[in-house]
């Protein structure tokens, strides 16, 4: 019913959902924090980038797995 490229594409879509929710939450909370305390925006931005990078790392790991499944 499903072909391997199709399943890999669905997997990539699921990865995007997870990473999007994660990074969206981080960015939203950072916006909240910055608007409450604009003077702390530098520290908040650095922490936000670190968190986003960690989530992005996991998401890319899954994307690579999808790519490997695609080439099977």
């Amino acid at each position: 019913m499903f072909s391997a490229p199709g399943l890999a594409a669905i997997g990539a879509g699921l990865v995007v959902i997870g990473a999007g929710v994660g990074i969206g939450r981080i960015a939203g909370s950072a916006m909240d924090g910055i608007s409450r305390q604009p003077e702390a925006s530098n520290k908040i931005q650095t922490a936000m980038i670190i968190g986003a990078a960690l989530i992005e790392g996991v998401a890319f790991f899954c994307a690579v797995l999808c790519l490997l499944a695609l080439n099977k």
């Binding site: 670190i50 990078a53 960690l54 790392g57 890319f60 790991f61 994307a63 690579v64």
Partner: protein, 276 residues
């Protein structure tokens, strides 16, 4: 291996079937360098040492060229002017160096050790930055989209984490880093292996992040251009999209160099000055 031009015509003749194979082939490593369509420079080093292939490959050549560019920037083009404000390329380099030293090294490792280790992390930053940017210039290939290259960089970070931890805390103190205080003794049986695994997972995450970011971006650009092969003239508007992704890649090249350096500094700093 055939040249890039014949590859493209083959892909065009057999429709979109070969586009994905063509894309994968072009972001991968190979034994020859194609600076221009139809021009192939064989690097063909069939040099084996202890059973390991040490011949020059495309990405190894890119690493050498990047090293040459970094040397050119700092060894020749950089002019130290202590009597007046720097200008031109010296100004740009000093701004980047100061950023890495103050915002990354001193911030995450501490005032004294940060300044001592700054050259180490500056090497990371400029090497990764030059490699990333070289991948966006048509002549060259992206060495950071090769997992072996990023793993080599991350192994340097791992070595620095272990050496820094042992030098700063002693051999016993180094292993106490994996036994965080404030938990019941019985929990250490589970916690110690997990913390020890964390030592190796951190460089692994660094490896995957840089590799997948660069590979992913280039595959997106190539795939958008591949739409032209699949759809003919109707695919031409995807050029604009490819251009947009290209500029995004320019940003990503800087961000990934920054993130790689910053996370390395953070990991090394955690091993040298444990907060817990």
């Amino acid at each position: 291996m055939s040249s890039a031009a014949t590859d493209a015509s083959q892909a065009a003749s057999s429709g979109g079937q070969d586009v994905s194979a063509y894309v994968i082939h072009h972001v991968g490593n190979s034994d020859s360098w194609h600076p221009l369509p139809g021009v192939g420079v064989p690097l063909g080093g069939d040099f084996h040492l202890f059973g390991i292939d040490l011949g020059l490959s495309l990405h190894a050549l890119m690493l050498l060229i990047a090293g040459g560019i970094v040397f050119l920037l700092f060894g020749i083009l950089y002019k130290k002017q202590s009597d007046r404000a720097p200008s031109g390329i010296t100004n740009m380099l000093e701004a980047l160096v100061l950023f890495v030293r103050d915002e990354i090294c001193v911030n995450y490792i501490g005032e004294k050790d940060g300044k001592r280790l700054a050259p180490f992390f500056l090497n990371f930053f400029f090497m990764v930055l030059v490699l990333n940017l070289m991948g966006l210039i048509p002549l060259f290939s992206t060495a950071t989209a090769n997992i072996s290259v990023t793993m080599g960089l991350a192994l340097i970070t791992l070595t620095m984490m272990i050496i820094g931890g042992i030098v700063k805390n002693g051999l016993v103190g180094f292993f106490q880093l994996f036994l965080p205080p404030g938990v019941p003794k019985a929990v250490y049986i589970i916690l110690f292996p997990i913390e020890l695994m964390g030592l190796f997972i951190k460089p692994f995450a660094l490896t995957i992040r840089l590799f997948a970011n660069m590979l992913g971006g280039h595959i997106v650009i190539f795939s958008l251009l591949g739409l032209i092969i699949s759809f003919g003239w109707f695919g031409v508007p995807s050029l604009a999209l490819a251009l947009f992704v290209f500029f995004l890649e320019l940003l990503v090249a800087f961000i990934q160099a920054f993130i790689f350096t910053m996370l390395s500094a953070m990991f090394v700093g955690d091993m040298m000055h444990p907060s817990h």
